[in-house]
Symmetry: C2
Subunit: 334 residues, 2 copies
C-alpha cells in the first residue's frame, strides 16, 4: 500500500467528500481545502467542460482556491460547483473582495448521461444539491469505486469509478492523486485482469496480479467507446510542497502522463481528460528543481495507480447498459 | 447609427434576452443562436471566471455552441448558464450525444457584488432562474444600459451597463458586438463627457460630442477601482461570415483590442476581461485573408463603440454606492 490511507487526503490540508444519487446513477466528489490553496490545471482531451478554471492560470490574480470538484452529469453537472460555493459561503470561505467572499471552486465533469440512470430530472438537474451534500460529507476517509463523481463512470469494457493513491518522494514530500475513471478506452490489458498501470502498483492495491509476460499485438487492440459518445477521465493531484501557481501548472502537466501510463487510450477527440494540481504548501522545497521533477513524476505514478484502483474498487450498476465491474469479472484477489 | 438596429442581433442567427432583479441589482444577458454556432474566446484579464469554455478551443471537438451568457454575480453568477442549459434542454437543443443533447453554453461573469444591491439570497443565488428568464425574453431588440448582465455594472467613475453596436465590412459581412461594461477603469476622458471611443463613433450613437482638441497629461490620470475590488468587462462579437473555430479565436483576439480603444485601463490584474467571438456562417469569405482582417478590425471598432454606448445608455442605480450615470451627469445630447 501507499502512505497512510493511500488516498489523496494523505496530503495535509485536503478532505474529500462524496455524494451520489442511485436512481440518477451519478454523483459528485469534492476536494475541500482547509485554506485557500495554490492550484492549476491542464485540459488535455478534445471534449472538455469545466467551470471557474480561469483563476488557475499562472497569469491571474487568485492565489488560492477553496475546493476542486469532479462530477458526473456532463455539461449539466457544472451546476455542482454552485452547491459547493453555497456551502463555502455559509462557512464564510472564499476570496475576500472588499466585504464579500467569493469561493473559488474549479470543476471538471465527465459524461455519464447514457449509463442507464434516470436522467429525467425536470427543469433543473440535481448536481447543485449533490455538490452541497458532498461538502457536508468531507472527511479524511472516503469511498472508492462506484462512489461520488465516479458513481456512474464507465470505461470501454469495465465499470469505471473513483480512484485514489498516495506516495512520499525521496525528499519527504507527500503526493496524492484522485481520479474519476470514465475513460474512452481501457484500464486493463486485453480486457483484463491485468492493469496497464501494473508496473506502478504499490503492494496489492489493485490486486497484485502484476503484468503478463508478453503483451502480444492482439492483446492491445485499439478499442474505444464508439461514435460521438464522449468520455472523460478527470483527475486531481496534490502535494504538501510549497509551489507557486506556475509550478502547480507544471505539476498538472507532469501528472497527466499518468493517464498515458494507465489507459489505452486517452487524450482523444471525444474525451475531456483534465487534470488539476494543488500544492497545500506545508513543506518548502529542499532541492528546488529536482523536487519539482520528483513530485511531478510521483504524481504521475499516483494518478496511474489511482486509475487502476478506481476500476478495481468499482461495483456493477444495476442497468443492462452498464459494463461489468472488474471484481465481478475477475474476483477480488486480496 | 450603425447598420439596422445597431445591435449584435443585426448579425443573422442571433437573438438576445435580458433578465434582471432590481433588489439584487444584477442580471443576466444571453445571446441565443438559432443553430449551433462556431465560437471561440480569449480571456485577457487577470481575474477571469467562466464556465464551459473548454469547447471553445480550436483543438476540441464541439463544432458549435448554443448560447453565450454574460452575467453579473461574480463566481456565484456562474449558475446562470445552468438556467440557459435548462431552457435549451426543454427546447431540445444541444450537442447530440447518442440519444441525449447537452447544450453548450459558454459563460463569463463580472463582479457586481458591492454595488448596493441586496446579495442576501439565502443558500442559492438567483442567477440560474435569471438565466432561464433571459432565454424566455430573447428577441432581435433588447435594452441597453442598466439592463441584463449590465444592470449592476459600474466603471471607476460612471455607471456602466450593457452596450452593443454593429457595422458592415467592405465585402458585406455584418459584424456586431455586445458588452457588459463593468470596467476597472474609465470609458471617458478625464471624467467625461468625451468617450475614449469617440474616434470610432458612428453618427451620434453615444452623443456625438467627438473628441477634445487636446488630451493633456492631466486629462489622462491612471485611475482605477482600488484595492482588491475586481471588475470585468465581458464581451461578445459576432459575424455572419463562415469561419472555423481557429479563425473565431483569431476574431476574438482581434476584437479584444476594442477594450484598449475604449477604456483607460483594461487587461489588468484585478479584472477578468473576456471576449467571446461567434461566426453564424451565413456568408462564405470572399477574399479569405483580407476578410478575416477586416472582420476582426471591424469587430474591434464595434466593441469600442458598444462600450461607449453601454455607459451612454445607463441609468443610475438607487444606491449611495452607485456612481452617477453619464446621462445624469452630462445630459443626453441626442
Amino acid at each position: 500500500m501507499g502512505e497512510g490511507r493511500n488516498l489523496i487526503t494523505d496530503v495535509a490540508g485536503i478532505r474529500v467528500g462524496n455524494a451520489h444519487d442511485e436512481r440518477l446513477a451519478s454523483g459528485v466528489t469534492v476536494a475541500l481545502f482547509d485554506a485557500p490553496t495554490t492550484a492549476s490545471w491542464v485540459a488535455v482531451g478534445g471534449g472538455p467542460a469545466s467551470r471557474d478554471t480561469g483563476c488557475l492560470e499562472p497569469d491571474t490574480v487568485a492565489e488560492g482556491v477553496d475546493a476542486i470538484v469532479l462530477s458526473g452529469g456532463s455539461g449539466f453537472g457544472l451546476d455542482a460547483a454552485g452547491g459547493v460555493q453555497a456551502w463555502l459561503r455559509e462557512h464564510e470561505r472564499g476570496f475576500l473582495v472588499g466585504s464579500v467572499r467569493v469561493p473559488l471552486v474549479p470543476q471538471a465533469i465527465c459524461f455519464d448521461l447514457l449509463n442507464g440512470g434516470d436522467k429525467d430530472w425536470g427543469r433543473y438537474p440535481p448536481y447543485r444539491e449533490l455538490g452541497y451534500a458532498a461538502c457536508e460529507a468531507v472527511a479524511e476517509d472516503f469511498a472508492l469505486g462506484t462512489a461520488g463523481g465516479g458513481y456512474g463512470a464507465t470505461t470501454v469494457n469495465l465499470k469505471g469509478g473513483l480512484g485514489s493513491a498516495s506516495a512520499v518522494t525521496a525528499n519527504g514530500f507527500t503526493v496524492g492523486a484522485m481520479v474519476v475513471v470514465n475513460a474512452i478506452g481501457s484500464a486493463v490489458i486485453d480486457g483484463g485482469p491485468h492493469f496497464w498501470a501494473s508496473a506502478y502498483e504499490v503492494g496489492t492495491e489493485f490486486g497484485g496480479l502484476g503484468l503478463p509476460a508478453h503483451v502480444r499485438p492482439e492483446m492491445r487492440p485499439m478499442h474505444w467507446k464508439g461514435g460521438p459518445q464522449p468520455a472523460t477521465t478527470i483527475a486531481m493531484v496534490a502535494t504538501d510542497a510549497v509551489l507557486d501557481k506556475a509550478m502547480a501548472k507544471r505539476l498538472a502537466m507532469a501528472a497527466q502522463t499518468g493517464l498515458a501510463k494507465a489507459l489505452r487510450l486517452s487524450h482523444a477527440l471525444f474525451d475531456g481528460d483534465t487534470v488539476f494540481a494543488a500544492a497545500t504548501g506545508r513543506k518548502p522545497l529542499v532541492d528546488r528543481y529536482n523536487d519539482i521533477i520528483d513530485i511531478g513524476a510521483t504524481a504521475a505514478d499516483c494518478l496511474a495507480r489511482a486509475i487502476a484502483r478506481g476500476v478495481y474498487e468499482a461495483t456493477t450498476l444495476p442497468f443492462p447498459e452498464s459494463p461489468p465491474a472488474w471484481r465481478d469479472k475477475f474476483g477480488r484477489s486480496d
